[in-house]
Amino acid sequence: MSTTDVRPTGQPDEPEAPTNRPPSMHRVKMWIRRPYARWIMVLTVLIGFLLMPLAWLLLAAMNQTGAPASEVMKDIEQTVFVFTMVSIPITAFVFAVLVYSLLGWKHVSGDTPPEDESPAIRSNTIGVVLWTVVSSVLAFFLVVWGLAELAQITANSYGTIPADEQPEDKQALIVNVTGQQWVWTFEYPQYDGLTTETLYLAKDRPVYFNVTSKDVIHNFWAVELGVKIDANPGAITQTGVTPNKTGTFNVRCAELCGMHHAYMETAIQVLEPKAFNSWAREMGGGKTS
């Protein structure tokens, strides 16, 4: 449909309204009566619902190899879900306007510039204010949510304790992760320095990583546990997690580290605590310190 058959009603496109302005609620009502306004709203809702499944599809993709295997990973996926939901309305609105401006409002073609017939709308206070408020509120929400989540994840993963301090949790397992071109090695100081090239963890037992590198920057990424931290030469970075699922998961290097970067992968075996201890013993790890 075109703008010509629109019954002229209230005029929210005027920057400053005349003195004898009608009640604003009423103006909004009349504005909504305009066909294009309704159509865009309908389209927005429609597109919004079309986009909604994405929220689950994203998680489905993330969960293909057994994630979430820890609280941290749960938090991450929750955040992804919420952010998708939050960003759908505004995206849907923009897409709706794009679609409608192509199909709904008039369009002309031809080689010569057409006559001016569009309304000279230089601004629209209501629209601008509305947009600013909405986008600011959304951004503010994202920030607040993000900060809260970050604080929680930091708590779940021991955050960053000064290198020379013990983790508060004495039961916590300590693993010294060494990145080196192009093999990971994991040292268990509590099991008199037992070292492996596959990461073994105990279910529901907090683990605390001291990550460093012998040569270049690597990135220690325990995919399904949602743990990621750079392994920097000349520094020790710390993170931690509590696996809550037994099974085999992946460690990948997520920072380009030379020719065999792609091959710098290994497995995580999360065992039941008993199985873990017996494994450590038979590997010559001795008793738990």
């Binding site: 991450i76 960003s87 309304p119 000279a120 270049v216 792609a262």
Partner: protein, 650 residues
């Protein structure tokens, strides 16, 4: 006191001239691209041979590498850069200044390429229109080169059952692709459109510093050659953000990268100075800031960010170079250097640079949309506010690339804040676009259709950017294919498609011919569809957990990578078609009138082809830009409506 005897008639006024040394142009008459090549190759060869002779056989550098290739390659690069610039006459200007032989008007006109025909494109020509065209061609060459590498990368990733290339070569592919594309994208708007259009748009006769203008282009050319040469010396094997100490393990090709960046940053700095001064001091009479078109704002903002950001990048490479050659230890943790120092210096450029790319192409859209909707730009001040907001925040967000480096976990909180705040000014720009579309009658031509593609991509890029700006989510996404897909949506989907729209829009003014609409559209939309396929499935690969910059991966990721590769080939075809449209229209296109789009902006009021001095008499601006459209149809019934509205209200 040199008493000026001769005078010259400059735009109607008799201007006393200094002494004319020889023919107009002096020695510049003999210098051109050819002499540049001779100088560059000659000096490079000499320097290389001398260094080779001076390096004792079997000598090794401080890091045990064979010394000869390192030093010889460095000498060759330096020889090439200096020799070429000398050969093409870049140093004549400063020398003349020292000698006190100022240019006469005749000299200046010769150097601006007056009556030189096609030759002026192969000289140190100062006319901004010539530089614009040179940039246009150079941009297409660089982007084509980067696209070629992209095709090779996708081939490797698509062939999941074997290694097509050796890992080292694959790594140098991704590194070179990255930096080539970044360079190409930085200049794709700031080069052709900003140089060619902006001076005319603000009613100036040329840039503020014409010789700097030529300098910036030829420096870029020299840098591009350095980059390509590095591929033959082992390439840039460490990604475009050459992190240290990995970069300290690279073969000599790294020298090529470092030289490229040092020279390119110089070129960008010079160009930024030139553009900013032009915009600040040379706007036509009456062109107040509120009457300045938005492209000018965009270009100014971009130049400003480039101005303060690029030196950090340049110095990070200078330090790295001295690490490599003099064995200093800025980025060498063994000897007290810090890897985080490099990351900070690098991203201090790295993030503003993203907006250096995005803002101009967004501003081009702001130029296009009003013309094709015959509607004033929606809320001009809001658009300006958006640009200003982005510039203001651009310098405060760099560490969001370093969430996972653990360099200072406490600062993740503020940087997360600033990063998510930047979505507000970017949102302003989106509002301005859709607000201008609102109730408009669209004239469906190629440039404005491209705008739809850009907005679509920008929304997706922006939303995925929100995930990445969030530290917890980044803990999963960082360094994965998701990031790659995200910034391709921003840089390519928003940046490059916007630039294509701009080229299509300004093509008639720049070349005097219309861009072939049908072929162009086919190319654009093919590329667009391929783009969605490629990076849509790359998002999936990233979510599944595929790290970036890997050439072999778990076959869990096979399907998404196959789809990606198919899409990538589609993009390649589409881009080639668009390129073909540009070339063919340039050769055989229909002649364009001086103002084919019926735009009211200043640059379209000049005749096509634009005369050397742009305007015989400098124009005076008396009205706001984008003065299109008719009064709002509702306006007339206003009072009546309000009248009975009141009754209804009771």
């Amino acid at each position: 006191m040199s008493t000026a005897t001769a005078t010259a008639n400059v735009f109607g006024t008799e201007v006393p001239q200094p002494k004319q040394h020889g023919k107009p142009g002096g020695i510049m008459r003999r210098l051109n691209f050819g002499t540049g090549l001779i100088g560059g190759i000659g000096l490079a060869t000499v320097a290389g041979l001398v260094t080779n002779a001076l390096t004792p056989s079997g000598a090794s550098t401080a890091t045990f590498a064979p010394a000869a290739p390192e030093y010889v390659y460095l000498a060759v690069l330096l020889g090439w850069v200096i020799g070429f610039m000398a050969g093409i006459g870049a140093f004549i200007g400063p020398i003349r200044w020292v000698l006190g032989r100022d240019l006469t008007h005749a000299d200046a006109e010769y150097m601006a390429g007056k009556d030189l025909g096609w030759k002026r494109y192969f000289k140190f020509t100062t006319d901004h229109k010539v530089v614009g065209i040179q940039y246009l061609v150079m941009t297409m060459v660089i982007l084509g080169f980067g696209g070629l590498l992209a095709m090779l990368i996708r081939t490797e990733l698509g062939v999941t059952w074997a290694e097509v290339f050796s890992p080292s070569f694959y790594n140098s592919l991704i590194g070179t692709h990255g930096i080539a594309m970044i360079i190409g994208m930085i200049i794709v708007v700031m080069g052709p459109i900003a140089n060619f259009i902006v001076p005319i748009m603000i009613g100036a006769r040329d840039m503020a510093f014409p010789r700097l203008n030529a300098l910036s282009f030829w420096l870029l050319f020299v840098a591009a050659i350095c980059l390509i040469s590095s591929l033959f010396m082992g390439g840039v094997q460490d990604g475009w953000s050459v992190y240290y100490p990995l970069g300290a393990q690279a073969p000599p090709g790294m020298l090529g990268y470092q030289m490229t960046i040092i020279v390119f940053a110089l070129s960008t700095g010079v160009a930024s100075v030139n553009l900013m001064v032009t915009i600040l001091t040379m706007r036509a009479k009456g062109m107040t800031w509120s009457r300045t078109p938005l492209l000018v704002f965009g270009v100014f903002a971009s130049a400003l960010m480039g101005l303060y950001a690029f030196p950090f990048y340049q110095y990070s490479q200078i330090l790295a170079l001295s690490d490599r050659i003099f064995n200093t230890s800025f980025f060498d943790p063994l000897e007290g250097g810090s890897v985080w120092l490099y990351e900070n210096l690098f991203w201090l450029l790295g993030h503003p640079e993203v907006y250096v790319i995005i803002i101009p192409s967004a501003a081009v859209l702001m130029e296009i949309i009003p013309v094709f909707y015959r509607k004033p730009l929606f809320s001009f001040n809001f658009a300006v506010a958006g640009i200003v907001g982005v510039v203001a925040l651009s310098g405060l967000v760099w560490a969001h690339h370093m969430y996972m480096t653990g360099w200072a976990p406490a600062v993740n909180y503020p940087f997360m804040l600033s990063t998510e705040m930047i979505s507000i000014p970017v949102g302003f720009l989106v509002l301005v676009v859709i607000g201008t579309m609102w109730r408009g009658v669209v004239w469906t031509r190629l440039p404005v259709m491209a705008v739809y593609a850009v907005i679509f991509n920008k929304m997706i890029g922006g939303v995925t950017g929100i995930y990445l700006s969030d530290v917890p989510v980044d803990q999963y996404m960082h360094g994965s294919m998701f990031v790659v897909a995200h910034f391709h949506y921003m840089l390519m989907g928003a940046g490059l498609f916007g630039a294509m729209a701009g080229v299509a829009f300004y093509f008639p003014k720049m070349t005097g011919r219309m861009l072939d609409e049908r072929t162009g559209s086919i190319g654009l939309w093919t590329a667009f569809i391929g783009f969605q396929i490629t990076f849509g499935s790359m998002f999936v690969a990233g979510l599944q957990g595929q790290p970036r910059r890997v050439l072999q991966f778990d076959n869990l990721f096979n399907i998404s990578n196959w789809i990606s590769t198919i899409g990538a080939y589609t993009i390649g075809i589409g881009m080639l078609i668009f390129l073909g449209a540009i070339i063919s229209s340039w050769m055989y296109g229909d002649k364009a009138s001086s103002n084919p789009w019926g735009s009211k902006s200043l640059e379209w009021q000049t005749p096509t082809p634009v005369p050397l001095e742009n305007f015989e008499v400098l124009p005076v601006v008396t009205e706001r830009p984008y003065d299109y459209g008719v009064p709002d149809p509702y306006q007339k019934e206003l009072d009546a409506v309000d009248g009975d509205l009141e009754k209804v209200g009771k």
